[in-house]
Each structure stands twice: as structure tokens, then as C-alpha cells.
């Protein structure tokens, strides 16, 4: 089955629209003489199989309504930044944007997950020119955004590799090493941010 039904096409259009909107926020920041908001963007539409699996796991009925309303990550974006300071700048830009509202925030940077995972997650409610699952136009769609630094992103890739490999010898040890590594990367992120602030500390005067 196609869990997204005839909304699948809209999801692809909205993904493009979202990409354009984020790029435009970045351009506005650059035009105002600020540093770029992010280093790069990544996005995906959750695959049919993953979405079906998720609905089953959460105990939702396997249908389009569950996929687009009860789940919030059919469309997922990553905003990958050079520095930690860039993350609140992106959040502020999203809060100021008139085409979306933030419906949920999770700060896994201040409160890292026990395994060392760090990222700032937000769920956006996006207003789009496309019909939504409730039949409204302009339609509302959820988009999950993960904001993180390059270091956090590399770490997450490594952790992802471990999670989906089942033949690792001594996974507890690898887990401990990953956690240590996450602490060291967080330390480097803070060090870079501090140096950057020291470089710019006289800019305001």
C-alpha cells in the first residue's frame, strides 16, 4: 500500500517549497550583513515502509491520516550549522517566519540523550498551497526539523551506523566510546564558539 495516498505528490512539492523557504531565510540573513545561518541542508520524505512500521509501532491505524497528522516527521529536514550559536539564530528566523508556527521544541543540546546524542528538534506546522488530509486548502503539513552542528551531525551518522549493525563485538564498549566522543565533540563546539565570540567581542562597539 501507499500510506501517503495521493498526498505523496504534495509532500514532494512541500519538500521543495520548504527548501526554498529556508534558503530564502539564509539569503535574508546574508543580505542583512550577517553570517550564513547554516552550513548546509538535508531533507527526506520518510519512506513508505518506515512510515507503515512507525504507525504499527505506535499503535496508530495504518492510514494516511496517521501518517500526516499523528506522525509529524513525514517530511524531515536537517539544518546543519558551523557553530552552536547558529542554532538559536535559525530558531529565531523560523519563529519570525509567517509561513509556519513551531508546535513543539525538544532541546537535546542542553539535555543530551543518555547515549550522547545532541540536536535541537522542532516540529513546524507549515501553511502550504496544497490541500491537506483534512481537505483544507491552503493546507497544513507538519515538518520535523533537526538543528545541529557539523560535529553533532557526524556523531549522529556514526551512532546510526552502530545502531543498524547487529554483528558488533562488544557493543557496550563501542557505546561508551561513542558517549566519550560526544562529550569531546561538545567540548570542541564550545571551544570554537568561545573563540568566535572572542574574535567578535569588539564588533558591537
Amino acid at each position: 500500500m501507499d500510506i501517503y495516498g495521493h498526498y505523496h505528490h504534495s509532500l514532494i512539492q512541500i519538500q521543495k517549497l520548504m527548501m526554498d523557504r529556508l534558503e530564502s531565510l539564509n539569503q535574508q540573513a546574508r543580505d542583512a550583513g550577517h553570517a550564513k545561518l547554516y552550513e548546509h541542508l538535508a531533507s527526506r520524505i520518510k519512506s513508505n515502509d518506515s512510515m507503515i512500521e512507525k504507525c504499527q509501532r505506535k499503535g496508530y491505524p495504518v492510514n494516511t491520516e496517521s501518517a500526516l497528522r499523528r506522525c509529524h516527521d513525514a517530511i524531515g529536514f536537517r539544518i546543519i550549522c558551523n557553530f552552536i550559536d547558529d542554532i538559536p539564530r535559525n530558531l529565531q528566523a523560523l519563529k519570525n517566519a509567517d509561513w509556519c508556527t513551531i508546535v513543539k521544541e525538544k532541546d537535546y543540546i542542553t539535555h543530551a540523550k543518555p547515549n550522547g546524542y545532541r540536536s535541537y528538534h522542532v516540529i513546524l506546522d507549515l501553511t502550504t498551497p496544497y490541500e491537506d488530509v483534512a481537505g483544507h486548502t491552503p493546507g497544513h503539513y507538519y515538518v520535523e526539523i533537526q538543528l545541529r552542528t557539523i560535529a553533532m551531525d557526524s556523531w549522529a551518522s556514526l551512532e546510526h551506523e552502530m545502531k543498524y549493525k547487529h554483528n558488533i563485538k562488544d557493543p557496550e564498549r563501542i557505546g561508551r566510546e561513542l558517549k566519550k566522543c560526544a562529550n569531546q565533540l561538545a567540548s570542541c563546539d564550545i571551544q570554537m564558539q568561545t573563540i568566535r565570540q572572542l574574535i567578535h567581542e569588539n564588533d558591537k562597539e
Binding site: 542542553t110 543530551a112 562529550n183 567540548s187 564550545i190 564558539q193 568561545t194
Partner: protein, 228 residues
């Protein structure tokens, strides 16, 4: 603890070995300075006890060679009672302590116990202040979150916690935390670590801050309320 004993007097050697073994120490006993040097090269020791007057190679020469090889093991010299010069030469050659002959076994064992306490306390490198925990072995700062510290930061924070609430000058921190070989370190080096600390304390949501203006004095204080 594993101990290397170099003593050429066989009767004294036997007595010391027996006393050390009774105290559950592992002992390697040798009879001259050259054997001491050879053993020091081959095995890891926690303490070395070296007599000064020995055949083949005396204790001072053995000690110099051991130190020249980069060995930092704690060394106790056994010196003759009257010879101040032996004590001075021994300490200058790199000894950490000395005992004058004749010495009591009780005193030797008490000194070893004191050393053991010192070694153990170095391993207990976990300090707490406010809602933060510093794990000096892992060089990690923990609170609601955790973050790595550099070795300098770890030493600095250890000193700050042990002296929490006191106003500490930049110079004091410099003397305490920077190695003697780092001659170029100055107050600016101390200062650059202050914003690192502030950011890291904030990153783990600590209720502890490092107060003080640029140039010091600095003071580690616990805030009333944790970070919002």
C-alpha cells in the same frame, strides 16, 4: 604496592623483606646498585628503597641512572645517620625521602602506609560542588549533561572546586595549574580558559559560575537557583 629493595647487607635485607611481605607488599630484593638499575628497567614499581653504600654500583649512582631513564617512581634512600651530605646528595639526585640507619621497621612501614594513602587519594579524582561533578580521571564535567575537559581545564577546575568561594588571583591559578615547562603561559592564558569554563558550565546546566572580571580575581560560586 610493588617495592624494589636494594640492600647489600643480607641480614638487614631479610628483615626488611619479611616486614614488607607481612604488610602484603610485593617485594623484589636485590643486592647492589646495578641490579637495582636492571630491575627498574624491567618491572613497574610503586616504591624503590635504595641503600647508598653498596658494591658494584652505589645507591646514588643507581638513582641517577634510574632517573635519567625517565623513571619517576617514589624513591626512599637509606643513609648513614651521621652523613648530612648523603641526605643532601640523595635528595638532589632525585630521591623523594630518606631514612637514616639504624631505622625502625615501624617507621618504614608507617611511611609506606602514608604513601599508599597519597596514591589512593590521587585515584579518587571525583569532586563535587553545587550540582556539578568533576571526574578528573575521565576529564569530564557532569551535571544535567556532560562534557569533556582538556587536562588543563580539569586541573584548573579541580583547584577551583577545592578552593571554592575563595577569591583566587590569576597568578595563583597560573602557578597551580600550568606546568613549569610552560614558561610562556601568562594571565591571558588563564583568562582564555575563563570563558571556556563559563560556556561549559552553562552547557551542562550547572548552578555553578566562575565569577570575576578579566584579569581576576576569580571565584567559583554556587548560584541560588539553577539555570532556567
Amino acid at each position: 604496592m610493588r617495592i624494589l629493595l636494594a640492600e647489600d647487607n643480607s641480614q638487614l635485607r631479610r628483615v626488611i623483606v619479611a616486614a614488607l611481605k607481612t604488610s602484603q607488599y610485593i617485594v623484589d630484593a636485590v643486592t647492589n646498585g646495578q641490579e637495582a638499575v636492571d630491575h627498574a628497567k624491567q618491572h613497574p614499581y610503586d616504591v624503590m628503597i635504595l641503600d647508598i653504600m653498596m658494591p658494584v654500583k652505589d645507591g646514588l649512582e643507581a638513582l641517577r641512572e634510574i632517573r635519567a631513564a625517565g623513571d619517576r617512581t617514589y624513591v626512599i634512600m637509606l643513609t648513614a645517620l651521621s652523613e648530612i651530605d648523603d641526605k643532601v646528595n640523595g635528595l638532589d639526585a632525585g630521591a623523594d625521602d630518606y631514612l637514616t640507619k639504624p631505622f625502625s621497621l615501624k617507621e618504614l612501614l608507617a611511611r609506606l602506609r602514608s604513601l599508599e594513602r597519597r596514591f589512593d587519594s590521587l585515584d579518587e579524582d571525583v569532586l563535587k560542588f553545587g550540582n556539578i561533578t568533576l571526574d578528573g580521571n575521565e576529564q569530564v564535567l557532569k551535571s544535567e549533561n556532560s562534557i569533556s575537559l582538556s587536562s588543563k581545564e580539569s586541573r584548573l577546575l579541580q583547584y577551583l572546586i577545592l578552593n571554592a568561594g575563595k577569591e583566587l588571583s590569576s597568578q595563583t591559578l597560573l602557578n597551580q595549574t600550568w606546568d613549569d615547562d610552560d614558561e610562556h603561559a601568562d594571565n591571558e592564558d588563564v583568562w582564555i580558559n575563563v570563558p571556556y569554563f563559563r560556556q561549559k558550565l552553562q552547557a551542562v546546566n550547572a548552578n555553578v559560575t566562575l565569577a570575576g572580571p578579566k584579569g581576576g580575581p576569580y571565584q567559583l560560586i554556587e548560584r541560588e537557583k539553577p539555570n532556567a
